[in-house]
């Protein structure tokens, strides 16, 4: 069972057990983790699911796609090197993923 650790901008952390095949965004939204909005449900239309992915997880996911790349440039919180749209982070069995949530999504 994949496990995700969400860190809020103020340092508070939520740990959630997830389902393989779901995304980091879906898991957050379904469980009410604040700061990840995910309005478009993962269809790369809203950029309200921006997260900073921990360095140790960089290679656990496919690289940033073209649309994702363009959207991250225009996210509400300034993009960093480890920025991802969490709807594109699809979980696999046994993963442990750490993400930090930005100040603003809208």
């Amino acid at each position: 069972m994949p496990k995700i650790f969400y860190t809020q901008p103020d340092g508070r952390q939520t740990a959630l057990e997830a389902t393989a095949g779901d995304s980091v965004m879906q898991t957050a939204v379904r469980n009410g983790v604040s700061g990840i909005v995910g309005q478009c449900g993962g269809s790369l239309s809203c950029a309200t699911c921006h997260v900073f992915l921990a360095e140790e997880n960089t290679d656990d996911f496919p690289p940033v796609g073209d649309d994702e790349d363009e959207m991250l440039d225009c996210a509400a919180t300034e993009r960093q090197d480890n920025s991802r749209l969490s709807c594109q982070l699809i979980l696999r069995e046994g993963q442990e993923v750490h993400v930090t949530i930005p100040e603003a999504q809208l």
Binding site: G21, V29, R30, N31, G32, S43, L44, M71, C74
Partner: protein, 441 residues
Amino acid sequence: MPAHPARGPGSPRDHPGSPAVNTTPHLLIVGAGQAGAHLAGSARDQGWKGPITLIGGEPHAPYTRPPLSKTFLKGQTPLSSLALRSDAYYTQHRIDLVVDEHIDHIELAGDGTGTATAATGRRWRFDRLALATGARPRHLPIEHADLDGVLTLRDLHDAQALAQRLTTATALVVIGGGFIGLEVAATATAAGVPTTVVEAAPTLMNRVVSAATAKIVATAHRAAGVRIRTGVRPLRLRGTNGTITAVELDDGDELPADLVVIGVGAQPRDELARAAGLHCDNGIVVDAHCLASDGHTIAVGDCANLPDPSPASDGTVRLRLESVDNAVEQATSAAGTLTGLHRPYRSVPWFWSDQGNLKLQIAGLARPDDEIVLRTGRRPGQHTTLRYRGSRLVAAECLNSPADFLAVRRALGEETPLPRVTAADTGLSLKEHLAAARTPR
């Protein structure tokens, strides 16, 4: 505004969750869709202390509809991933989710309290009522629309039926070239089902995008193999032994079909509100605080007729918005009304539609006569149609250009002016133009 203590009809027994002595008023939300689910969670987050009951007529917990005409129809999205919230979420947030109960009747007292009765006879007394009953597909007044093989698409049940039919269909006719019709057409064509879209207006998505955008979209669909017939109406449906065989058009043509999807818009489900005495006119009429005509009842989502929430609007234009964005943002604002925060609903409306490989995103609300400035993007297939009212940017229609969409959505929210001549210059990206416009000179 704090909710009123219960003085309505019915006994406390009607709702086991609501205590007899009413220190914690009971919020009842009718309609467990996108707006209802969000309202329940948001009311809790914003400080509603009392019991919350969320009642839905479908046999499912709240789920997301957009994939129904897209990935779900293709079989790419499993049922389990449509749920908006986990079961644990409702428990943790003390939201009593009741599914498969259709509310048939509401008795509403002058102070906003009352009783809701389901078709099964179950009753719930409430101190505060919210209606999030959504919309239903508009009926097409055409002969033989009840033939087997003629479908509409609104809920999971419809989507499952359509997905099933698509596995054997040999000729699909989609009546209506709006978002849902075009999404279904793209999905069906990709699945190998020959598909024709019939649209009465001269262009696709007539009420919602400019002719310029519609033309690009039509070209893309045709290239993908969808046949598109604009400016013609279906005259009647033909069948054999109760099953659809053809669609007869008003120009004399007849299109063979063993599957027909009617997608000609939606109608608000406001009959409960009407019967309860609330003012309805193309939806439940609400103010900027999401309050209905009685000043107590809340209405949100597709069922509500609201003042245009755009920052640029003076609030005199009323409309219904059928989008996830509106369901979520209006519900957030309504939760504030319930808990005393009283933030009027202000937002830049936006919408997306994935049609095969086309990503269409719209920010802002344009009127048919708003002028257009076309921009072509750096990647093939990227187009942005900016809509201007005089010198003012009011909306954008973006094709495969999510960065432009985000830039415009933000600019509209901040009311950053973007002169037309500047906008036409494709040497800089829209993001760069807007950043320059934002920098004080």
